[in-house]
């Protein structure tokens, strides 16, 4: 009789399999943790509190939180309809639209910023700024720069979400007399709430880290268009590495707090937490 039963061999094989996956994936986790530890080691609580004491940095925190929230809401407002249309309908030019929506994702963020800058120096852009509101180098440009990139992620997420929702319940609703709109509001959208949460969180997080387009399109003006990534850049540019790192860690803390909160709210009632 063999001392190695098929179950034991299988379990050993499974352990090896999981170890290999963990090793590969774990290297990335280790890299992230190593970066965080390196940042923490270079700064101190005194630098942290000195950074928070500066009114410019408090303003940057406020602007970052508010602008990211506005961007996330606006991203959902475009992400949901576009995601639904791309998932549920066929229309002329759908492939082109699909490709266009990838542009903000594949283009370097600096190019997005430059393109926005050029857009608002064109005659229609100038007319808008002279007659409606100032954009370039003012707060609306921060939101627009963030939105230009974040919305693309929201669209992708919502499309995948709607793709995964079985259209059958919607179709049943239609057979029971609902209009398309009623079916959307009463059936599809409630079913997509986790996707909404994910899209909103992703947009918010993406906006928080946006720097390149903001630097080009909004400038780096303290107490006006300075967001947290800009603060890191400004502190770094005057050699204040410790303050730059303190703000970087602050961004990490804020981002983690928001992500954990939204995920907790999203997973509540699922039995997973």
């Amino acid at each position: 009789m063999s001392t190695h039963s098929p179950d034991a061999a299988g379990q050993r094989s499974n352990r090896v399999f999981y170890w290999c996956l963990s090793l590969l994936g774990g290297t990335y986790i280790v890299l992230i943790v190593a970066m965080l530890v390196a940042d923490l080691a270079y700064t101190s609580p005194q630098h942290f509190s000195a950074a928070l004491a500066k009114p410019e940095i408090r303003y940057a925190i406020m602007l970052s939180l508010v602008s990211c929230s506005i961007t996330a809401i606006l991203s959902l407002w475009v992400g949901v309809p576009l995601g639904y249309l791309l998932s549920r309908t066929q229309f002329p030019g759908k492939t082109l639209v699909d490709t266009l929506l990838d542009i903000p994702i594949v283009l370097p963020p600096l190019v997005i910023g430059l393109s926005l800058l050029i857009l608002f120096t064109s005659p229609p852009g100038r007319w808008f700024q002279e007659n409606v509101m100032s954009v370039t180098y003012f707060v609306p440009s921060v939101i627009l720069a963030q939105f230009s990139v974040a919305a693309a992620f929201a669209v992708r997420t919502m499309r995948v979400t709607f793709d995964q929702i079985n259209p059958r319940t919607e179709q049943v609703a239609l057979t029971l007399g609902c209009t398309r709109g009623q079916a959307f509001w009463n059936i599809t959208l409630p079913e997509a709430w986790r996707g909404l949460l994910t899209a909103g969180t992703l947009s918010w997080a993406r906006s928080l880290g946006e720097f390149g387009p903001i630097l080009i399109f909004s400038g780096a003006t303290r107490m006006r268009t300075e967001v947290l990534p800009t603060t890191v850049f400004l502190e770094l540019s005057i050699g204040n590495l410790e303050a730059a790192l303190a703000v970087s860690l602050l961004m990490i803390v804020v981002a983690v707090a928001v992500l954990v909160l939204t995920r907790t709210l999203g997973l509540r009632g699922t039995g997973l937490i």
């Binding site: 406020m62 602007l63 506005i70 120096t121 006006r224 770094l236």
Partner: protein, 495 residues
């Protein structure tokens, strides 16, 4: 209403609430005077400019926005955005580029900087010359020569010495700005970098090393007002503040910049006293007025015969600028002024009523019996002195003296007498006659060098505003000023 619609309406409410919060938190214009001045500023000048901006806003309540970047980057932004009021590159070579694009009006010098080599903490190799900097195994970082002033100046200087090829062979790291280089050296990601001496304080962990091959490179840091500025007076005010020895230059000096010795003292509305010969009045009045308005300064001009003006200066008056009718009067007060520069010439003429009924063609004709002649007072004005000299050199002095009925302190007063008919002929300047060409004929006095005097301009040695005075001089030597001088019959001597 179902949950989805409730959530949607909630998102609208949230959006409105966040927008209101943002609007209320944004820095407003409460108590501030005028639209914001936009300054495109090189990265290396960030710290002193932040301090200067705060002081300026406190003192004048004029809001200022600083936009930073490498020198080439801000030049591109300035050209693209068309909204900048001031341009502050790290070197005046970028001003040349900006002038080629016709972007720049006035320029004020601020400071100078020199590039130095810095080494990272723990770097244990000896650096004595540029060869050590580009030695194998040394990681060198330089700001991109295409974008940053320091990279460009170092590259150009080393190329002239035949040392740049060694740099490119070594394949250095090119970073976006000089601040990036400093940060990289401090962090230790590169061994050696080249940064401005003025910003070495920002990187206390780096070691500064003087390298002989970089000596001779000096960046002249200017601040320039743009031609597109919608508020040039306010822009000039900020530029004057930044360039003032008791304001902006104090901050620059504190941050390690070498500042100019002959800087202006700060005044919100500076005053300039200008002494000018009477004959220059019609040529320069408008230019002075435009300069006053644009700069936001007050100019007090004293027009008189140069003899009188020189007399006043000898008794203690000290104008900031003296524009003389003739070099001999400037010479009499040369110890009070810097090097004079000739701006114009003015032809001596015999002025007669239209028609020249006495048929006067030469100076000798002024001795015709019964003629009533007017000349300038030889001691009170350059006109008089030059006229006498001319009479003496042509040998007609005694003959003409018999007919001289009036000695005036200026040519303009002689023209008045001629026009009202109390004199038959006067010896004056062409510029005195040109405005009345319909009533008066002018016969030029030719063949005698002293009959075409030169008008030099000089700036007072003890003026509190030497740079402002230099800008005034530049305005008087400009193309528009030339047009005004020539329209009055002056010759133009500015090269």
């Amino acid at each position: 209403m179902n949950l989805a619609k409730t959530a949607f309406l909630g998102s609208i409410a949230l959006l409105v609430g966040l927008s209101v919060l943002l609007y209320s938190q944004m820095a407003g214009d409460r108590g501030q005077v005028g639209p914001t001045l936009i300054v495109y500023c090189a990265e290396a000048l960030r710290l002193p400019l932040e301090a200067i901006k705060l002081d300026f806003e406190k003192e004048t309540r004029q809001p200022v926005e600083l936009r930073y970047g490498s020198s080439q980057f801000i030049l591109t932004q300035l050209d693209l955005n068309k909204d900048g009021d001031l341009f502050l590159p790290a070197d005046d070579s970028y001003l040349t580029l900006a002038k080629q694009k016709d972007l720049i009006a006035e320029v004020l010098p601020l400071a100078t900087m020199r590039p130095v080599v810095v080494t990272r903490p723990g770097f244990n190799k000896t650096i004595k010359s540029w060869n050590d900097v580009v030695a194998p195994g040394v990681k060198l970082g330089i700001a991109n020569p295409e974008a940053a002033a320091i990279g460009k100046l170092v590259r150009d200087h080393l190329t002239k010495q035949g040392l740049w090829d060694a740099v490119t062979k070594q394949q250095p790291t090119f970073l976006g700005t000089v601040s990036d280089v400093g940060a990289a050296v401090q962090l230790g990601t590169i061994d050696v970098g080249v940064i401005w001496d003025a910003i070495t304080k920002n990187y206390p962990k780096a070691t500064v090393v003087e390298v002989p091959e970089l000596k001779g490179i000096t960046a002249q840091v200017p601040i320039a007002v743009t031609k597109r500025s919608a508020q040039p007076t306010q822009a000039l005010r900020f530029a004057r503040f930044a360039a003032a020895k008791d304001r902006g230059l104090e901050h620059l000096h504190k941050h390690g910049f070498q500042v100019a010795d002959n800087a202006d003292a700060w005044a919100l509305t500076p005053k300039l006293d200008v002494y000018a010969g009477s004959m220059l009045r019609p040529a320069i009045e408008q230019t002075l007025d435009e300069f006053q308005k644009r700069e936001g300064v007050r100019i007090t001009t004293v027009y008189n015969g140069c003899g009188i003006l020189v007399g006043q200066m000898k008794t203690g008056q000290r104008p900031d600028v003296y524009f003389s009718c003739d070099t001999q009067f400037m010479h009499q007060v040369r110890d009070l002024f810097g090097e004079p520069a000739v701006v114009s010439t003015n032809q001596l003429v015999i002025a007669v009523p239209k028609g020249n009924k006495h048929d006067l063609q030469t100076l000798k004709d002024l001795g015709k019996p019964g003629l009533k002649v007017g000349v300038g007072h030889e001691q009170q004005c350059a006109l008089g002195a030059i006229t006498k000299e001319t009479f003496l050199k042509t040998g007609v002095y005694a003959a003409v003296q018999k007919n001289v009925k009036k000695y005036a302190p200026s040519g303009d007063l002689l023209i008045v007498d001629l026009r009202v008919g109390t004199l038959d002929a006067v010896v004056a300047y062409q510029s005195n006659v040109t405005p009345y060409a319909k009533e008066i004929d002018a016969i030029p006095v030719t063949g005698i060098p002293c009959a075409k005097p030169e008008q030099p301009l000089a700036i007072g040695r003890k003026t509190l505003h030497p740079q402002l005075a230099q800008r005034l001089e530049a305005a008087l030597r400009s193309a528009e000023s030339k047009r005004r001088f020539e329209a009055l019959g002056f010759g133009w001597e500015v090269k």
